[in-house]
């Protein structure tokens, strides 16, 4: 076992940090509910950062590392599906790649817009289509911190992919966990900064033990989600993937409330960016039928 980053991985993450530095420091005043950034998306795509999963020498672990790192940004980029699932499908599909589970096609979908590739996965197989304007209803009032839209119809004519749905679900779960790991880390970071700065009763909030312990538990969870995501990316095992996604969804539930608690009223303003991470975490909690869905998948894989 060797749990250090390889030299390649260090170089990739350094390059991402360099590329994203101007974005990380952007003014977030009145950032709105979501914060998409077309320029950042282009920069990342052109830099090849979303194609790392296509390189067999780098593989899914490196792709997961990229996803985790990008999820820490206040801006949102469709990276998780592109980096981790697109390699299964071949490289010529237009981004963003939007994941939809059969039977849940009426739910709001992250990054869906005209021209996006929609990936439909379920018992009847794996298929894709390019969304038209008529198929898409944008949801600008959605609270989730991602650009979202609802799919009005699913076209009968779709490209079928000769890969098992189970392979897509494994990678979807890994993508979810890797993205959650980055979101958790960023939300934790900003909350730590806030409570260190914010004074109540004549001392920083961070000096109150109950809060310290709850943030420490959030650290334990964020760390666990990250490791489970990376391990699952390494093994591509269905049990590992389901455990990683389960732990991610459970940890999102367990920590988001606390982060907002510690931010107090500031956490519900659009002038502070907390929601850009916490509401994205909320959006991930319902994926693939929520914790129940991941739990059953894990049980099937582990003890089925």
């Amino acid at each position: 076992m060797d749990l250090s980053l390889t030299d390649d991985q260090v170089a990739i993450l350094d390059a991402i940090d360099t590329l994203t530095r101007p974005y990380a420091g952007a003014s977030l005043h009145e950032a709105g509910f979501a914060l998409p950034d077309a320029q950042l998306d282009r920069d990342l795509a052109e830099g090849g950062f979303l194609d790392i999963g296509f390189d067999p020498d780098l593989g899914a672990v490196s792709a997961a590392l990229v996803v985790e790192r990008l999820a820490r940004l206040p801006q949102t980029v469709e990276a998780a599906a592109s980096a981790l699932i697109r390699p299964l499908l071949g490289g010529d599909l237009p981004r963003p790649l939007c994941l939809v589970e059969e039977g849940r096609t009426t739910r709001p979908i992250r990054f869906l817009r005209e021209g996006a590739t929609v990936l439909l996965v379920g018992p009847s197989g794996v298929s894709t289509f390019t969304a038209t304007a008529a198929q898409v209803r944008p949801e600008p009032e959605a609270l989730y911190g991602y650009p979202m839209a609802t799919l009005l119809t699913v076209p009968a004519e779709r490209t079928l992919h000769a890969i098992p749905a189970s392979e897509v679900l494994i990678r979807w779960r890994i993508a979810l966990a890797a993205e959650a790991a980055g979101l958790l880390a960023a939300a934790l970071d900003i909350t730590v900064a806030h409570v260190t700065d914010r004074q109540q009763f004549g001392r920083p909030l961070a000096t109150f033990q109950a809060l310290r312990h709850r943030l420490a538990q959030a650290q334990v969870r964020a760390n666990g989600v990250r490791w489970l995501a990376l391990k699952a990316a390494a093994t591509l095992d269905p049990g590992d993937a389901a455990l990683a996604a389960l732990h991610a969804q459970e940890s999102a539930r367990a920590t988001v409330y606390d982060f907002h608690q510690f931010f107090g009223a500031m956490g519900v303003t659009l002038e502070h960016p907390l929601h850009l991470w916490t509401y994205r975490l909320k959006a991930l909690v319902g994926d693939l039928r929520g914790r129940g869905g991941q739990g059953l998948a894990a049980a099937e894989a582990l003890w089925g």
Binding site: T150, Q200, F201, Y257, H260, A265, V268, T269, R291, G292
Partner: protein, 381 residues
């Protein structure tokens, strides 16, 4: 022990429900997604509260001599539950009838009562409460907005934040510092919001347009006659107000209603079929009903004229637990609710997520329970 409602209470609840069904517009659920402090809801509330006042349902719990009917705390609770379940069509006026009015009745001068009580009773007033400041949230006694005495007037300078309704309110229930004594140096001024020197800035918010504001006081001149009670009496007056709002909003009731609505949607979609979703819904219901019963235990004591102490913090924390779990249930099982699919559930989420921070953070309730219910020795300061 008797857990049944009286016939009179049941009839009162039925009457409220009928009135709501008759009065609220057809698109009310979508409309009520705007926060209770939004301009849209504030305008609607004036018409709605007028209707309530006509029907004797705006201040039924006030004393008869002040226009009320002297109804007991159980009726007051039923009124609060039905209004909150309905999305609080009274808007910001719920504060007027629940605690600002009663506080003025107890501490107001005859002039203040004559000026402020009638508009409240008619459903025409809108107040905002100037409590929180940028450096002082849970720790009210650390507030710094100053009112300097200058003859028969005060000169007020400072800043309030998170102020709901400030953009449209006619009067501010302003807590400010008149001396350096931490608690006894605080006084209350009743300040018309059109007084020169007051500036209001809306803070863009996740939970709805117009919901929260900053209010700046820049050499605002307020006559001494606008002071509620004595100088330095604010701590006592606020303590009294709190006994009138001890239980806070009956959030458990909306949480349960939202849960029931979510379940009915899931059933209609054939998604209330696995064990996981049913068990999670049951956990939510257990928490809402535990919060309800803990709250009713306090109402029961109020109805009997007994002193209410720290136990109300236990009911409040139970309510926060319930709100949290219902919000999480909907996010997990009906994520489209937070987009545009189910306005009633979105309304619930928007109001529910602040349960733990509004009107006394959940952690403050835990402190109170530890010290005053469990009688644990205090933390060192």
């Amino acid at each position: 022990m008797d857990f049944d409602w009286t016939d009179q209470e049941t009839a009162f609840r039925d009457r409220l429900r009928a009135l709501l069904a008759d009065t609220l517009p057809d698109d009310w659920e979508r409309f009520s997604q705007h926060g209770p402090a939004s301009p849209a809801l504030t305008r609607y509330a004036e018409s709605f509260c007028g209707t309530l006042a006509e029907q004797g349902l705006l201040i039924p719990h006030w004393p008869v001599e002040l226009g009320g009917q002297g109804l007991d705390p159980w009726h007051q609770t039923i009124l609060a539950e039905e209004m909150w379940i309905a999305g609080e069509p009274r808007g910001g006026q719920y504060m007027n009838v629940n605690w600002i009015g009663p506080t003025l009745i107890r501490y107001g001068s005859p002039d203040q009562q004559a000026r402020y009580l009638p508009p409240i009773a008619e459903g025409k007033a809108l107040w905002c409460q100037g409590f929180s400041e940028p450096g002082s949230g849970s720790d009210l006694a650390s507030l710094r907005t100053r009112a300097e005495r200058d003859g028969d007037q005060y000169r007020v300078t400072g800043q309030k934040i998170w102020t709901s309704y400030a953009g449209l309110a006619d009067t501010c229930f302003l807590v400010c510092r008149t001396s350096d004594d931490r608690k006894r140096g605080i006084s209350i001024l009743l300040v018309p919001m059109d007084t020169p020197g007051i500036t209001v800035r809306q803070i863009p918010s996740l939970i709805g347009e117009g919901d929260i504001h900053e209010v700046f006081f820049d050499d605002v001149i307020v006559p001494v006659t606008a002071r509620l009670g004595d100088e330095g009496q604010a701590w006592e007056i606020i303590g009294y107000s709190l006994t009138n709002e001890r239980l806070g909003i009956p959030r458990y009731a909306l949480a349960r209603a939202a849960l029931d609505r979510a379940v009915s949607i899931l059933k209609a979609q054939d998604e209330f079929d696995g064990e996981a979703v049913k068990i999670e819904a049951a956990h939510c219901a257990a928490l809402t009903e535990a919060a309800r019963m803990a709250s009713y235990a306090i109402v029961d004591r109020r109805a009997k004229g007994e002193a209410i102490g720290a136990e109300s913090s236990s009911a409040r924390f139970a309510t926060v637990m319930a709100e949290r779990r219902v919000c999480e249930f909907i996010v997990e099982y009906l994520p489209e609710a937070l987009a545009d699919a189910h306005p009633y559930l979105k309304m619930h989420h928007q109001r529910g997520i602040v349960a733990g921070i509004a009107a006394g953070a959940a952690e403050i309730q835990l402190n109170i329970i530890a010290t005053d219910v469990l009688k644990l020795p205090r933390e060192p300061r």
